[in-house]
């Protein structure tokens, strides 16, 4: 049982990483970026190629994946999403979903075109190695890395959002856009940087996914589904609850494998999703 929970925590830490960018961008900007999963996929491929071609360790390739996704996110925001910012909130959510959906289509198919639809994985020397702190308890080394990265991301985001002027301006903009521009915040630039940051967070999750699981051109949508379940569980715009919901989903899925088998694992997450939706609407 403890073993199941350990795997659940590792999975959950990854789910948190996959969802945090989506949740923050939605909370602050009201863009529900469906293409977040595809950003994640690209991050995974960045890590794969860096490892495959130059033997760069996946955890070392994280900063580079972040930079690439940051730039890509910024360009795509400027070119596609920024036009939606003048719309009222509801329309903005709907339209950003449509734009994101189209973008997913394009990015995923470009990935197939360039990299074929093969399933790839990043396999550094420590893949499959485990740490035995107790007899019978096995903790994968990669899993420890995933948890470490998740903790680092939580801590960094906390510092960024509460201690820096940029973070405060982001929170201010989320709470009252007009009031933010009235104190001198350039809202358009804040949005641009924050969307790019959301993409960079997808980049981190992408690298982690490639080393903890595997990566292929349409993997993004699978992770996006998990991220949306977490978004519904946790509410949006806050870092802590996203990771708590991620852990919850990871552990529940882990336990469900024990009882109903791997085949129905996906169902469990979606059942939780539906139950929460029903509860919320009442």
């Amino acid at each position: 049982m403890i073993q199941i929970i350990v795997y659940g925590v590792i999975t959950g830490a990854f789910y948190g990483l996959a969802a945090v960018g989506l949740s923050l961008v939605f909370g602050v900007m009201k863009h529900l970026n469906i293409a977040h999963g595809s950003f994640l996929m690209i991050g995974g491929f960045v890590s794969f190629w860096l490892f495959h071609l130059f033997k760069i360790d996946p955890f070392v390739s994280i900063p580079l994946a972040m930079i690439i996704l940051f730039v890509l996110g910024g360009v795509l925001y400027k070119g596609l999403f920024s036009h939606l910012d003048k719309l009222p909130e509801g329309l903005k959510i709907n339209n950003s979903m449509l734009v994101g959906f189209g973008l997913t289509w394009i990015l995923d198919n470009l990935a197939i075109l360039f990299w074929t639809s093969d399933v790839r994985a990043v396999t550094p020397s420590y893949t499959g190695k485990v740490w035995n702190p107790l007899t019978g308890l096995r903790i994968p080394i990669v899993g420890l890395g995933v948890i470490g990265i998740a903790l680092l991301v939580i801590f960094s985001l906390y510092l960024l959002l509460t201690k820096t002027y940029f973070g405060k301006s982001v929170r201010g903009t989320a709470q009252d856009r007009d009031a933010a521009s009235l104190v001198g915040i350039n809202v358009e630039r804040t949005y641009l940087v924050f969307f790019a940051l959301g993409a960079a967070l997808a980049g981190i999750a992408g690298v982690v996914s490639a080393v903890n699981y595997s990566v292929h051109p349409t993997v993004g949508f699978e992770w996006l589904l998990k991220a949306i379940i977490i978004l519904v569980l946790a509410g949006f715009g806050k870092v802590g609850p996203v990771f708590v919901a991620g852990l919850l989903l990871g552990i529940v899925e882990g336990i469900s494998v024990y009882f109903v088998g791997t085949t129905y694992r996906e169902v469990v997450g979606l059942v939780i999703f539906i139950l929460v939706m029903l509860k919320r609407s009442m």
Partner: protein, 235 residues
């Protein structure tokens, strides 16, 4: 200091301002009076850059600012206390003040500026860590004024100071604003429904009705004007 020249403003398809012109002289408190939906807030939003006039120009110290975005207007030296305060409700009093000093220039003098605000409104100091959304109406208005002062503006724009305030609280805040005007030499442009209170604070006044300026002058003469007495004070 501020010159508005014949601006026409639309909100969506609806025209709300018709060739509005006015001036705010340096060092004064100037008031714009008018009833609900007369176009007061639209005028202030045009000045502060949140909406753009279709025609006409706005100048600040001789500089053309009609097309500047809101965040640039703050940099140029105008700061607004918006209608309904528009604080950041889920941030503390201190964080609201800090965001008031968002501009690089203001950021360097932030700590001193916060001390000054606490001297003007001591109650804010004792509420420093409280969420802005949980303050009383009067405290929120004080915080909104404090936040606007943090950027060290040359001209302070105030939209509906009296909204939702108890008379005694309003009187207290109005006194403080008069004092800031004198002690800091800060120019103030205030937009109000509450005519009597405002005319007592201001030296110059403009009257707006249905999006048009219908009268102006020194407040002493406006207070004596029979038509205004009828329209605004119901005497």
């Amino acid at each position: 200091m501020l010159e508005v020249n014949e601006i026409d403003v639309y909100r969506g398809d609806i025209r709300v301002l018709w060739s509005v012109s006015l001036k705010v002289e340096e060092g004064t408190i100037t008031a714009l009076l008018g009833s609900n939906a007369a176009g007061k807030t639209s005028l202030l939003m045009s000045i502060s850059g949140l909406i753009k006039p279709m025609r006409g120009s706005i100048r600040f110290n001789g500089m053309e600012i009609t097309k500047e975005p809101a965040h640039r207007i703050v940099e140029i030296g105008m700061s607004m206390v918006p209608e309904g305060r528009r604080l950041f409700p889920e941030m503390s009093v201190l964080e609201n003040l800090e965001l008031g000093a968002f501009l690089k220039k203001a950021r360097n003098a932030k700590d001193r500026a916060i001390e000054e605000i606490y001297e003007i409104f001591p109650i804010l100091k004792s509420r420093a860590t409280q969420m802005a959304g949980t303050l009383s109406g009067g405290e929120q208005q004080m915080l909104a004024i404090g936040r606007a002062l943090m950027s060290r503006p040359k001209l302070l724009l105030i939209d509906e100071l009296s909204l939702g305030l108890a008379p005694l609280v309003l009187q207290h805040i109005a006194e403080i604003i008069k004092e800031i005007n004198v002690s800091r030499g800060l120019t103030i442009f205030i937009v109000e429904q509450n005519a009597l209170m405002t005319l007592e604070m201001a030296q110059f006044g403009y009257l707006i009705e249905n999006g048009r300026i219908v009268g102006s002058g020194e407040t002493n003469s406006l207070l004596q004007n029979e038509q205004i007495k009828n329209a605004y004070f119901g005497i």
